[in-house]
């Protein structure tokens, strides 16, 4: 078998071989090129505004990965993911601001990185709590229980109690220099972008690895037919809760990251609309695909920003466009979901797969 190109046909002789990531030199080259673009090209070549857009793409993708795991890989529909992001954000912020860290932890800039991890764990555990009903209910009823997560977490606990810690009332503000990793204070667009890029890369690697393990296969089996999965001996409650934990863990990490981008926090950062937005992201990107979460984030953030650039010059002639811009954006979001569901129900990831196949099979693509 060529070590440069994939053969024309499936010649893998074991599951391990089939699931190997970088099977040929060409694929290795592509992946290295992607990493070079992400870690060197974008931060070095793009100006600040575009880097901040890239950071938003990454933040969206971090949240969407968890939603993808729940909806796309395990078949558990969630509409309360912003709550788990909020838990991670608040856990991280409170740890950084209020926890009596030993001085050497603060001096070595370890408080924030540790708080990211703990934020992830808290997000995961909180997610499991609201995932418990999945043992008994599914489909429409599960959607309602996840929605309850949003209202109970953000509107009740965070707003009424957690936000009051420290006496400021509702908003936390992190003084400059508080968010640092080692000697590296996260205080510029580029540094924030790098943090996002590292976290997102790790999250993609973890999820991709989980999906090609026994756990991942169990999730997919549950998604495809939970009764059949149970008949095969899969403990579906355990694996569903594990999916909630991993999705919540990712959400918690996303929330803890978000703090570095704003250096301020209030419950208003996590509206229910954000949960809905993340579901829209995976619908457009493609359900059941890691690529889908990333393509969807890219599409939603970049297209909405492009819409902004179109509206700027038109605003001089049609001021109404400016006044109603947020509504126009929401309408575009709804329209995009409708268009994708009708014309490309498998999302952008499927289109990407088709393009890749075209080139892989060229010139005999028929």
């Amino acid at each position: 078998m060529s070590s440069v190109w994939l053969p024309c046909g499936d010649y893998h002789q074991s599951y391990v071989e089939d699931q190997t990531w970088w099977q040929t030199t060409f694929i290795k080259f592509k992946m290295v090129l992607l990493l070079v673009i992400v870690f060197i090209g974008i931060p070095l070549l793009l100006p600040g505004y575009f880097i901040s857009v890239a950071t938003m793409v990454g933040y969206t993708a971090m949240g969407a990965l968890g939603v993808q795991l729940l909806i796309g890989y395990t078949g558990l529909i969630t509409l309360g993911h912003a709550a788990f992001i909020a838990v991670g954000a608040y856990t991280s912020t409170l740890l950084v601001l209020q926890f009596p860290w030993p001085q050497f932890i603060v001096d070595w800039g370890l408080a924030y990185p540790i708080s990211i991890l703990i934020g992830g764990v808290f997000g995961g555990l909180w997610s499991v709590l609201f995932g418990l009903p999945c043992a008994k209910v599914k489909g429409f009823y599960l959607i309602l229980t996840t929605m309850a997560a949003q209202f109970i977490t953000v509107d009740f606990f965070l707003t009424q109690y957690i936000s009051q810690i420290g006496g400021r009332g509702q908003a936390f503000s992190l003084p400059p220099g508080t968010i640092k990793i080692g000697a590296w204070a996260i205080d510029t667009d580029v540094k924030t972008y790098y943090l996002m890029a590292v976290l997102l890369t790790l999250m993609v690697i973890v999820l991709a690895n989980l999906l090609r393990s026994k756990t991942g296969r169990a999730w997919v089996a549950i998604r495809d037919n939970d009764i059949a999965a149970m008949a095969l001996g899969i403990n579906i409650v355990w694996y569903k809760l594990l999916a909630f934990f991993v999705a919540g863990f990712f959400a918690g990490i996303a929330g803890a990251f978000w703090v570095s981008n704003t250096a301020a926090l209030s419950p208003e950062h996590f509206p229910w609309f954000w949960s809905l937005w993340l579901v829209g992201v995976i619908l457009i990107g493609g359900v059941g695909s890691i690529h889908g979460a990333i393509f969807g984030s890219l599409f939603m953030v970049v297209v909405m920003e492009l819409l902004q650039w179109v509206v700027i010059p038109l605003g001089d002639y049609y001021p109404k466009l400016l006044f109603d811009f947020a509504s126009i954006k929401d309408s575009a979001f709804g329209l995009a979901i409708c268009v994708f569901l009708i014309y490309e129900p498998n999302g952008l990831a499927y289109r990407w797969w088709q393009i890749k196949n075209y080139f892989n099979l060229w010139p005999f693509s028929y």
């Binding site: 600040g48 509107d155 009332g169 003084p175 704003t262 926090l265 700027i312 400016l322 947020a326």
Partner: protein, 414 residues
């Protein structure tokens, strides 16, 4: 033939080049100003008129000499009161090269505060949160109005001075205060600590806070909860639509308390929405209502008619006047910075805003002072009430005069 075509192309390219050069020269004479507004979100009930007022004000400034002859190119965005949106909009405005930004809500202004400080970007907000007034923490945030905490302290003091002595229980027991506001909103919750501090100072008994959404249309459960406490006065920290729903329900359920309201909940629309329930409602008015006879109000009204003829005059409110207040102080600061040869973010702040001493913008606003150590523009607030079909003055409370030591040493920044 070929030569002619080449000549034509040459002329065209030259013309385009000249046009581009001229437009670049014109752009060089242009000052870019950004805006982040809410015309569709949770606070759009007051945000639309503010946005229109801001556009009127910038057009007026351009028609009256601009900034020492330079025209202002104002680019603004609606962010729908969503904080993540505000952050990307801010970065976009930065990319467009703006020298200052007219901002909106407390949540996004506070979220952006560390960034604007780092970028040295003067950020003139419609959020009057006292948390933005300490230059040690937020050196690039400011606004023309008395801050929310000053408003809350002034309203409570005015009620204590003028209304409490007229109550039958006066002298027999402590007056009772309760607060209605959206807990989750940094805007609405910003002055709560201050008003409770003022209540303690004046000897109030404080009841349980009631969580009222900015979108609230029905607040009966909150009013029923308040009835057990029997407050004498209720502080409302939300915007007009929500406040009107609350005082309407309070009236219908016979709560029997007076109402004191922060400035964003107290405008010409309040009596329209709340009807007779608004009678006697008192509120903070850091500037005059639209059309009230004060210095420079004629300019505001004439500009509204000239630049926004499609908006009926009876729809214009105090929000227009507030937008003018913020625009006028920025205008003066930019003129001063430009004259001082320091036309950049830091210059506009240091050579512009922080040189304003008792600067009178008219419009019924208090004279404005910013110093490098104190960004509280005013030391008190005019409290008015809706009575007999019109707004009437209750008391002009000057906190600095009444509590000079606390004003100087304790109350800055919260």
């Amino acid at each position: 033939m070929k030569k002619t075509r080449v000549q034509k192309v040459g002329v065209l390219v030259s013309a385009l080049f000249i046009l581009f050069s001229l437009s670049t020269m014109a752009a060089a004479q242009e000052i870019k100003l950004g805006g982040i507004m809410d015309t569709t979100g949770a606070t759009s009930d007051v945000g639309k008129d503010y946005t229109i007022g801001m556009e009127d004000a910038i057009k007026y400034i351009n028609d009256n000499g601009g900034v020492n002859g330079k025209q202002i190119k104002y680019t603004w965005f609606d962010y729908g009161y969503r904080i993540p949106e505000a952050i990307t909009k801010y970065k976009l405005l930065l990319r467009l090269g703006v020298v200052a930004i007219m901002g909106w809500g407390t949540g996004d202004t506070e979220a952006l505060s560390p960034t604007v400080n780092k970028d040295k970007m003067p950020y003139v907000s419609a959020s009057y949160s006292a948390h933005l007034t300490d230059p040690k923490k937020t050196p690039y945030n400011l606004f023309f109005s008395s801050d929310y905490s000053t408003n809350a302290r002034a309203c409570l003091t005015a009620w204590f001075d003028k209304k409490w002595p007229t109550k039958k229980d006066y002298g027999k027991r402590k007056p009772r205060l309760a607060c209605c506001y959206m807990f989750a909103s940094p805007y609405a919750s910003a002055p709560i600590k201050a008003i409770k501090d003022q209540a303690a100072l004046l000897g109030f008994e404080v009841g349980p806070d009631q969580d009222v959404s900015l979108f609230a249309l029905d607040t009966k459960s909150q009013i029923m909860a308040l009835k057990k406490f029997e407050p004498d006065v209720v502080w409302h920290g939300n915007t007009t639509m929500s406040v009107s729903a609350t005082i309407r329900d309070a009236y219908a359920l016979g709560l029997g308390a007076d109402h004191i309201i922060d400035n964003w909940g107290f405008d010409e629309n309040l009596p329209r929405l709340a009807g007779e329930a608004a009678e006697g409602a008192m509120g903070a008015t850091p500037c005059a209502f639209y059309g009230q006879p004060f210095k420079n109000m004629d300019i505001v009204v004439a500009s509204a008619k000239k630049y926004s003829p499609g908006v009926p005059q009876d729809k214009r409110t105090i929000r227009t006047v507030q937008a003018w207040g913020d625009a006028l102080i920025l205008w003066e600061a930019m003129i001063r910075a430009d004259k001082a040869g320091a036309f950049n973010g830091e210059g506009i702040m240091k050579k512009g805003f922080e040189t304003l001493r008792d600067y009178d913008i008219g419009l019924g606003a208090a004279p404005i002072t910013f110093t490098p150590t104190d960004h509280r523009p005013a030391t008190g607030c005019l409290v008015q009430e809706w009575k007999g079909g019109k707004f009437q003055t209750v008391e002009a409370v000057d906190l600095k005069k009444r509590w000079p030591e606390k004003w100087e040493k304790e109350w800055l920044g919260w």
